[in-house]
């Protein structure tokens, strides 16, 4: 490099109003780049819109359900007879079908179907429902009680437009005569569609009764898993990050740990599942399919996410704050806990909630510890059994439904996705709120 100054070119008078080729090229490049950006965003938005449309249009039907209203006079003798017979539900079924036939007659609807044939429009859960009610309310014997029985999933599908007459004609269960009846019953308000709380709060049902299946128990399973993840991953992750970021000496060992944490974040989640199977179930002997084990596996999966985001949040706190605290005679720990941690809080919380949201939507690791495929048909008895009893989780439940043959389950899978997305959106919203709340202080 020489210090000689290059001779300056003679000054040329160039009008600022005149455009030259170079400027035009530069401006064109800038315009092209903006167009690429807009296209990219447009494609992203289009995918999002398509996704949301697909989810809502397929899943919203799961939130309504068809019911058949049947008034039944509870007769003590009849019920006693039903209870003393061997297959109790079949007797109850006869009572219900008889009552339905009577109701048809009262409503002035003529039919030549017999009671049992007519009963096919009801879900096969009807007998159990009536029996439960009758046994639980012996004081109401002799009264006429209006039962809301679930309609069979085919009737439900027909009224929602999911199942066509043609498709049903090929089905052995219902024929055109049933559907004509259903149409007339719907006109009379005996067959009604209502909001389906049982889908949100209820338990999963067997393959034959999609109309009865709900996501409530699986939701509880997810809830218990998230409790485990929150209780373990947050303190462990934050403590590890604080130590690594603020206290640990910078040497080979800490470098090695750091690299490995980053690597762990990229490990496929199913690997954590098989690790959980080997360590928690086969070695430690914890119960299979339990939210406790699911939570432990998801904790392993979430830890790297939490550690990485917490460390980033800690590193973003200006060093001058630490110097200020040390300068007035605060110890290292005081400077971290009084000054650095509060400033890093929004970042830590956001990272934690994103980690939790990831864990909430994770299916693959649950596959290997037996939570996928478990039919979550019963609520756990208490808090402890909530952790240890076999259960499913929301994404596992959705997967389970999506894989069943009956298209009625397909609708429920989409409905489950809506609920899962609502949960994720709520969590993200909470993350934003917490962020605001902690940031607004200064």
């Amino acid at each position: 490099m020489s210090d000689a100054i290059a001779p300056t070119p003679p000054a040329r008078a160039v009008s600022l109003h005149a455009t030259d080729a170079r400027t035009r090229r530069r401006n064109a490049a800038e315009k092209r780049f903006k167009a690429y950006g807009l296209t990219a965003i447009g494609i992203g938005l289009a995918f999002l819109a398509a996704l949301l449309f697909a989810i809502v249009s397929n899943g919203s039907a799961a939130f309504t359900q068809t019911f058949v209203e049947v008034p039944i006079t509870l007769d003590a003798e009849e019920i006693a007879a039903a209870e003393s017979s061997i297959v109790k539900t079949s007797k109850y079924r006869e009572i219900i079908h008889g009552a339905l036939l009577e109701q048809l007659a009262d409503a002035g609807i003529e039919t030549d179907m017999d009671a049992a044939e007519l009963g096919k429009i009801l879900s096969s859960s009807e007998a159990a429902e009536m029996r439960d009610f009758a046994l639980a309310n012996p004081e109401r014997m002799g009264e006429t009680v209006r039962f809301d029985f679930l309609a069979s999933s085919r009737v439900d599908g027909y009224l929602k437009g999911r199942v066509t007459r043609d498709a049903l004609a090929r089905d052995q269960n219902l024929d055109a005569a049933h559907l004509d009846l259903v149409d007339r019953l719907a006109e009379q308000g005996i067959v009604v569609k209502r909001f389906n709380w049982d889908f949100i709060l209820g338990a999963d049902a067997s393959d034959q009764r999609p109309e009865q299946a709900g996501i409530g128990v699986a939701m509880l399973g997810s809830f218990f898993m998230m409790l485990v993840v929150l209780a373990l991953a947050l303190p462990i992750g934050v403590a590890a990050s604080i130590y690594l970021e603020e206290f640990a000496p910078k040497n080979r060992i800490t470098d090695f740990i750091e690299v490995n944490i980053s690597n762990l974040a990229a490990v496929p989640s199913i690997v954590f599942g098989i690790l959980g199977l080997a360590v928690f179930i086969q070695f430690a002997g914890l119960p299979q399919s339990a939210p406790l084990v699911g939570g432990l596996v998801l904790t392993l999966m979430t830890l790297p996410t939490i550690i990485i985001s917490t460390r980033a949040a800690l590193a973003a706190v200006p060093p001058s704050i630490r110097a200020a605290a040390l300068g007035v005679g605060a110890s290292k720990m005081q400077s971290v806990f009084h000054h650095v941690l509060p400033l890093a809080m929004p970042g830590i919380l956001t990272g934690t909630i994103i980690g939790l949201a990831q864990a909430l939507g994770e299916t693959a690791p649950l596959l290997l510890i037996g939570m996928v495929g478990f039919i979550a048909s019963n609520y756990p008895d208490g808090v402890v059994s909530g952790f240890t009893d076999p259960n499913s989780a929301m994404p596992a439940q959705i997967y389970e439904w999506a894989k069943r043959a009956d298209p009625a389950f397909y609708e429920r899978a989409w409905g489950g996705i809506i609920i899962l997305l609502l949960f994720l959106m709520t969590m993200n919203f909470i993350a934003i709120l917490l962020r605001r709340r902690f940031e607004r202080r200064w």
């Binding site: 910078k250 001058s320 704050i321 200020a324 605290a325 300068g327 605060a330 110890s331 200064w442």
Partner: protein, 265 residues
Amino acid sequence: MDDLRRTEALLSQQQTKISARNVQVWYGDTHAIKDVSVEIADKTTTAFIGPSGCGKSTFLRCINRMNDTIPAARIEGDIEIDGEDIYDRRVDPVRLRAKVGMVFQKPNPFPKSIYDNVAYGPRIHGLARGRAELDAIVEKALRRAALWNEVKDRLTAPGTGLSGGQQQRLCIARAVATEPEVLLMDEPCSALDPIATAQVEELIDELRQNYSVVIVTHSMQQAARVSQKTAFFHLGHLVEFGDTATIFTNPEDSRTESYISGRIG
């Protein structure tokens, strides 16, 4: 009476507060401080001057062991405060820093209220028993930093919302609130306007009555105005140390003279 006090002050001025002998500092392979020995007197303002990168801040940070927090830094030699070696094993750097306060080049108030900024030191050192005592300490510190009148009505407002000069005075108040015996100031006025600078200088002069003040500055005028002793650093060496008046009017070393007259640096 007045004469007596002045004599007392003069006497104690001769007392050595900080005594450094053969101090060497390395940052990895960089030799930042080369064999510096200096005696800093009590109840005096000592100015450190010298071109950028000559090691003024580094030496200042040795006095309250802030260099301990820099992993690459390595220190050799002895520094004694009141005859006690501060690099002795038994010394807890946290207690040392309560005794040797520091004001940084860039104002760095905590993102907390003005009150909490000043009260933080006294709180963690347990200097106040009860709210009233703490209030009194905070008020006194803010008054000494010439900030009280400006902030007394908004003590709960965030300290980061003050102007740059006010923030720096807040940091000074925070440093004096713990009643340190030595106050280290690293270019405290570099972010301040002339009015705020004048206020801080006035404050330094007042603080000198009780503390040993060490100030790093790039302004020759400021060094001449506030200090009684001046140390000139150059490339890690302490080139010259003596009475401010002598250094500025009749320096021994030619490098000092060229720096002061603006020829190097």
